[in-house]
Symmetry: C2
Subunit: 265 residues, 2 copies
């Protein structure tokens, strides 16, 4: 079984993450006009990171004090590829997508980043420019923490530092697994894997099945799978005909999760 | 630092890629044909890692005491995918290749690992099974250090721990850059990038030009680029006709390094 999640909490079913999603789902659809509430949400999300367990109250407070909130409109470019980014990012609501422009003008998506996810540790620590472009896939709210305070904290708390190393290693392993799949697996398996990722991070259980809350056009799916729109249309048709998924107005519902999982073996 | 970098202030893709390579591997161009005692060589290579600078003599000695040497014959599988690996690996001589078997029976190469490179930190820290198969591409000698002593050392030395985190982040960035290139760049650029990687880690300067010391069949190149043998033959032919490289008996010589670099710009 492959691990598709960012955090290291072990789950063989969806309960754990759906719980987490439910929490963020409530937050997502509340009308947060006041930045103060987003700040509280950011503190809560940060507190849920494993590496924060090793933090003293004082250290936590110092990190919390530096939180800034940013509102992004749909399609807004937060960072470009090769740009320097000197802050840690937490997605509070909405979705960020990491991607690039291809040499032939196509846009390609590396990954959709869900709420609760921390971004940029790798680029802060390696002190390097970003490899991806960061775009708000929909209206999105993020929290930022400046580099210096994050680095200072982990450099003075070795238990926290070890947990950050562990988090980075788990993500690196996910990248290795990404490359394994794109290099060695047939397209249907790759699509199944992406759908499971979307279910894990962007879905809700309804009477009709598991609904992916992320709005995804066939073009978005093509960008994610790095194939042509014609190819993705044909493949998605196969998933629909097999009764695995249903698509309607840029939304995907999973009707047969077991069949989908079986494709990943 | 490599001799192939020009003093060009302008950062281009080539420089960017070299930065990535410099950060992720300790040494290049070293000639280890001289008969060494392998254990001494392992100690020397380990000492050259940046994270060892923070080590006390006593800590160093404890790590050194646990070094074991393994000799691998050409084609020997050191570890399979999904196997647990509870040791740090240093390549002392020869070449390891990290790869996988594809669903259709093809073999694919993720990366050739040169001498001096440390392997497995990510899998030790994330406590997970390997994503790659490790094979000796030629007769190869490795050193191993058991997981427990490495982890114990970094957990008790936060400066060293931070440097290990930095190393992992730099390598993760190289993976991000790998994915960027395979996803967005034309095949010729991808081939140029792989050739530059081979030059950086496996080459020597001769009267004839820059000779890649690694024995590489066209099949190996196809495995590395994840394309068919017919496609790689056609592409390599283009590089030969342009006067960029020469191939002879599974060896590549680079005749026009500037032209090769220009492809990455």
């Amino acid at each position: 079984m492959t691990t598709l999640v960012y955090n290291d909490k072990r789950r063989n079913n969806y309960d754990h993450f759906l719980d987490l999603l439910d929490q963020t789902h409530i937050n997502r659809y509340q009308d947060f006009n006041i930045t103060f509430e987003y700040k509280k949400l950011a503190e809560q999300m940060l507190s849920e990171c494993e590496f924060m367990d090793a933090c003293s109250l004082e250290e936590k407070q110092k990190l919390f004090n530096e939180i800034k909130i940013k509102h992004l409109y749909q399609g807004q470019v937060l960072y470009s590829r090769n740009q320097d980014c000197r802050e840690l990012i937490i997605v509070l609501s909405g979705v960020l997508k990491l991607g690039w422009n291809s040499y032939d003008g196509k846009y390609l998506i590396h990954r959709f980043i869900p709420t609760g996810a921390l971004l940029n540790i790798v680029y802060l620590i390696s002190e390097s420019a970003l490899e991806h472009e960061y775009v708000a896939h929909e209206a999105t709210v993020i929290a930022t923490i400046p580099e210096h305070i994050f680095k200072y904290t982990i450099q003075h708390n070795s238990r926290m530092l070890y947990q950050v190393l562990k988090l980075v290693c788990q993500r690196t392993r996910l990248l290795d697994n990404d490359i394994y799949h794109t290099s060695t697996q047939p397209l249907k398996v790759q699509i199944a894997r992406q759908l499971i990722y979307l279910i894990e991070f962007f879905s809700t259980q309804t009477q009709k099945g598991i609904e992916v809350l992320l709005k995804l056009s066939q073009e978005n799916l093509a960008e994610l799978l790095k194939i042509s729109r014609q190819s993705i249309r044909k493949e998605i048709q196969w998933f629909v005909e097999e009764g695995i998924i249903e698509t309607k107005y840029n939304h995907i519902s999973v009707k047969d999760i077991d069949k989908l999982k079986a494709l990943l073996h």
